[in-house]
Amino acid sequence: MADTPKGPVVLVQAEDFNTGQMIEQATSRASNIGAVVSFTGLCRDEGGKLAALELEHYAGMAEAEITRIATRAYNHWPLDQLIAIHRYGKIAPGENIVLVIATSTHRQAAFEAASYLMDFLKTKAPFWKKEHLIDGTSSEWVDATEKDDMALERWEDVMSE
């Protein structure tokens, strides 16, 4: 892994990923990494009601948009690695949906970059969730929340510093 190119790594895939293995990979070649922050987003069962989530995505733009967001983060904070994986297709409760890993010399950059990437990914990356219920009655598109939009505002000051 010594010749891993610098810059963010973005993967959009149907297959599951192994969080532990990805963290190990991100830190295995490290010599001056003091911090690794990871976030894994999982599929909830919504109180036992949900059979599966179906994630639709805009192939091509999904990769491009996450890469644009990750590149902004990578250029803003002193990071070593920044990795984002987002799944699409049918995902059952308990399964992984998204993974973000940030490594840095110190913790603050890693925490903030991971948080920034997740906040922007939620409202700017072209993915849409549809809920399939266990009783089979209906399948509904998940509504976007205002809370997610508001999460972006707090980054305006941070990024303009």
């Binding site: 995505h57 805009y58 091509g60 987002h86 409202t123 072209p126 993915f127």
Partner: protein, 84 residues
């Protein structure tokens, strides 16, 4: 022009993509949306809410209704995103 639809906008239109020739006077994103709404019941229904329709030009977000469509090859229309 290649037009792509996603999520419930795709379901309301009835298909995921189409290739269309835009009228000569449709030069901006705003004019495009207005024209699209006039193409039939399913388009009017899919695109009825100004606040819930998002636009991407050649796979980049566009919030500017006055943005020109000149040299654009692909327009995508979709609802607010719910990934992550």
């Amino acid at each position: 022009m290649k037009i792509l639809y996603f999520a419930w906008i795709r379901e309301r239109v009835g298909f995921a993509r189409e290739e269309i020739d835009l009228p000569a006077d449709v030069k901006t994103v705003g004019a495009f949306l207005t024209w699209m709404q006039s193409r039939g019941e399913e388009y009017a229904y899919a695109l009825e809410s100004d606040t819930l329709v998002r636009v991407a030009l050649d796979q980049e977000h566009c919030n500017d209704m006055s943005q020109s469509l000149e040299s654009v090859n692909e327009i995508a229309l979709f609802p607010p995103m719910t990934g992550g």
